[in-house]
Symmetry: C3
Subunit: 451 residues, 3 copies
């Protein structure tokens, strides 16, 4: 049956983030010739007509970076919309902090640590940020057929900050601001490049044949399971789980939440489409199609499943269904058929509803459903490659090993760091501050003045 789902066949992992070459200028030629994955885009392109192909490739990477950037606004508004009015300033402030420090830290260390993944394949230690503009090996196809050194950096840096943004949603409404700021910096600046290098940096998982096109595991499961660790330490929001059962804490603005999800959907065209790492017409257009199909299927599945279970057409479940489909297709957007993309999205849309209800049942309080959307669906998307991929080299157990390794690392790392921070400075605001709301308590001003 899965065979009939796979309408199309790709010749191989023609395009994927793992073709990203070394940030370190030296081993570029090596990386460009490294294997079957990078061969396609490089050779074919350069052979065709040189400069202009390079220009269009690099332009797409830059535009894709801008699209991924706007996902950060999507995350911010989604998180605000699904939480209480009184914590809105706090959430926006966290998100400004995450994107700002995320890009700076990725420049300072992450980019060079993530690629190419020397140091025994566990993490790299590249040269200090700052390419020389006069060095033609950074600005031509000699560096990579798809982008310059700076195109590479700006695109990858937008991904890096995402991990902390995912955590931000799960810990919202009760986390202590300075603690979270420090935690975000450590997670994005230090942990993300490590697991990233396992695959995209050419590390041990890459060597095993693990596949994660645009980051179902590397970005999403990573963020989702880091979030789970933090939530376990932090505990639920006051009043959520009472003796008389779960008391839903409603979001304060569903239009904000919907704006967030639509912006995330938009940005995902850059997240996945840009992960083709070139403007290869086949790759980009195909990835756009599978991405959109999975997102739509996720929404439809969540709508119907939640309607059956909750007995009403639930908007926040529909919105999370879109995200579930997007996270689900991210690992295999270039390597599964159109029908498989729809099926992956549908299953993700079902999973996310049950997962959100499950975590609520076991009293793990995740205000925006980040653990389910990014963590659980990230694992699903990664193993789905092992089920639906055209490429027989994508093995189910390798996919499972990869996603569990990354999720486990994220969970353990986040748990350890957040636990130490708890001992050192505390992770949770006082009960009074939580009741008053973080906006007035920590920031001294409300988000709205509507009277």
């Amino acid at each position: 049956m899965l065979g009939t789902m796979a309408f199309a066949l790709l010749g191989g992992d023609a395009f994927a983030q793992n073709t990203a070459p070394a940030a370190d200028p030296t081993p570029v030629a090596e990386a460009a010739a490294a294997g079957p994955e990078s061969a396609y885009s490089s050779d074919e392109y350069i052979a065709s007509d040189g400069y202009s192909t390079f220009a269009v490739n690099n332009l797409w990477i830059c535009i894709a970076a801008a699209l991924v950037f706007i996902m950060h606004l999507g995350f911010a508004t989604l998180e605000c919309g699904l939480t209480q009015k009184k914590n809105t300033v706090n959430i926006l402030f966290k998100n400004v902090w995450i994107i700002s420090t995320g890009i700076l830290l990725y420049a300072a260390w992450g980019f060079n640590a993530m690629y190419p993944g020397d140091f025994n394949g566990f993490f790299a230690m590249g040269s200090w940020f700052g390419g020389n503009l006069n060095d033609a090996s950074l600005t031509t196809a000699e560096y990579n057929a798809g982008y310059t050194w700076w195109g590479d950096f700006i695109f990858q840096s937008m991904f890096a900050a995402t991990a902390a943004t995912i955590v931000s949603g799960a810990v919202a409404e009760r986390v202590k601001l300075p603690t979270f700021m420090l935690f975000a910096v450590i997670l994005v600046g230090f942990a993300y490049p490590i697991t990233g290098s396992w695959k995209w940096g050419g590390g041990w998982l890459d060597a095993k044949g693990f596949y994660d096109f645009a980051g179902s595991s590397i970005v999403h499961a990573f963020g989702g399971f880091a979030a789970l660790a933090c939530v376990l330490i932090l505990g639920p929001r006051a009043g959520k789980y009472t003796k008389s059962g779960v008391r839903p804490i409603l979001g304060h603005s569903l239009p904000l939440a919907a704006i967030g999800v639509f912006l995330l959907f938009l940005g995902w065209f850059g997240f996945n489409g840009g992960s083709a790492l070139s403007a290869d017409p086949k790759a980009v257009s195909y990835v756009f199609t599978t991405t959109a199909l999975a997102a739509c299927a996720g929404a439809v599945a969540s709508i119907f499943v939640s309607w059956i279970i909750i007995k009403k057409p639930d908007l926040s479940m529909a919105l999370n269904g879109i995200l579930a489909g997007l996270v689900g297709i991210t690992a295999g957007a270039d390597t599964v058929g159109e029908g498989s993309a729809i099926l992956i999205g549908l299953i993700a849309g079902v999973i996310v509803v049950f997962s959100i209800l499950f975590f609520d049942k076991i009293k793990i309080d995740d205000p925006v459903g980040a653990i389910s959307v990014h963590g659980v669906c990230g694992i699903w998307g990664t193993v789905a490659v092992g089920i639906f991929s055209f490429n027989p080299e994508h093995k189910f157990f390798t996919q499972l090993l990869g996603t569990l390794s990354m999720s486990a690392f994220a969970f353990i790392f986040a748990f350890a760091v957040f636990f130490i921070l708890k001992l050192l400075m505390g992770v949770r605001v006082s009960a009074e501050e939580e009741a008053e709301g973080l906006d007035v308590a920590e920031h001294g001003a409300p988000a709205y003045n509507l009277n």
Copy 2:
């Protein structure tokens, strides 16, 4: 006078959606050589420098698809902003449903039914969705000089869902959710590809020389007159038309409405610009210019006309003026002069004010002005091609015939289907639900929690 308005002359319909080739792989070569319309972009491009030109063309189609996607957020926020707070969840839910099912249905049937328009030119019945990635005739300029099969699909699918979105605004605040969901599916999945195929699929209107560059009729008038049919069956919102006259029902958030219109303006650069169906520098830059000029002229006209009539500077009229200008220029963005574009926009901006006031006077209740903006201005834009076009082959009466045919089909089809749905399941919520608001009544939760 019109002659002096037309500052520039195009050699022909060099670029337009009707150069879209068959989705069915077989007749591609045929379509590429089909006539003067496709000749320009294909031959000239391929001759120039092959692969890289194809890559930039396809990239633009994909980016344009992303821009059209964000119009769906624009429609959603505009509709929310211009309606009452208590129906916001319902509107957002409808819009998630429309985009999700719209793309899936277009994959399942619409795309292949719309192109190339066999079956006597009335509607096609192409092959099941799912192109084979290994088939080079789908991923190279052999398919089309401007895009791959998937680029074609993703761009066109974003258009398809728009028809139902237009209806959504007109029936807001009182339509029954399951009925609307079913209606939207039938309209997008079945009716839109039929009229679309008349022109873009190479059907009977195309054979007659009808011209509709990016869909003033195919998308906008189609949606607007389907909306009119539904509103006639549905009736006005309770309390709108009283014995003592029209009681305005104010929108609950003009910032949301403004966000919507600016996002629609942004997305229209993809809607019109992408309809050049290539990155042809002349075509894309020219269409961007005429599109922006008409939008701005529409706003200025609406501002002054409404100021004179209503005696105040009315924001929602200014916003609708932008949209009127955009809808007006859509049919001829590549085939009229800059001055003509401004004039088309100005007239659209005048029309929309009078049209909105007219429909209110005859008690046709359209909360967002969708019938006027998309229906009436869609007709205006289409016939304006017959007045202002450089191309002497664009005849006024053919334009009139085309737009009236499509509008009539949309009206009759929507009327029939919505009427049957009324008999089968009802189309309107109960008076109690309408008074309470659909958010709590149908979805069980309010959109805002601001206290």
Copy 3:
């Protein structure tokens, strides 16, 4: 120390807005061969592979124009968010007016007046808008290697309207609508092209070697000091400066403000990236990187400085820090090192906090901080080129002369025009209207109906 900051070296002003050629078709060949600045992009590109390179260049200019367009939504939502609820319709209306008339006026006069800067280099008087599509010298690399005549127009027109938008924020909540509408038209339509032509039109500042890559002075300082003049004439909002000290007037929606800043950040990739005036991979990717680094550094600096001074983590300062960094890097995004970009952003982030506090102290009431963000940081960014540029031809005193000349011109021009308008029609609403709010008083309807 600055030397070690400048990690990279550019060969010259390879890419910059001042390579923009004449809008007048005649002197194009001349402009293309005009000097070292235009030589790079033109010759190298055309030589490489002709048509497809031209197509990707022009596509980027068009997409960049769309990105700059969305900055207008960013400005609108930022201004709304930081002001009171009762003036929201007024602000949105002003912003619709500015973009609409801005583009039309730039078509009617500005574009031809700004380029190429004949008439003794003070202002030009080009031909009436309306290029001939059949004139190949407007649609090929013969016009410019980076774009067609229309690509040039649409990109530049989006910049033009920005000047008035900056003023709009500073005069918000008390300016008389018709007066502002007239002022905006005069500023955008007449004054902006004059100072613009001094540099980008090849005028006297260009001849002196002044450098302003994407408009720290030409757009931002110009707008900021025009704003200062208007605010001086207009006076502070009622109740802001009382005998008992400054009474903060809180913005009504920080989510709107944050949406605005993120959209501005997004649009700035087009504002700066598009100012490379081609898709040159080195230029675009490098400018994206410096732009993002400076914005992030600005945010981090503002967060810490304001936290120290105001003793709390202030969201609006963090948001203004992003903008300060963006304005700061705009003049030199292509000509300073990565480390310098970070430093420029950090300093801008410090400056903006002190500047906002300073203007409040001297009772100059600027609701959104526009004078500080655009005016003061615009000057900083321009002189920063004289400090950090790779290019030894960029002299500190020339930069200072240029930015002060433009700021002074903007200030004097705006002061004179606004003063005359004050005498002719008044510039300020009545105390009653101000207390009631402009939405109901001038527009007859509130922005929100949330009950």
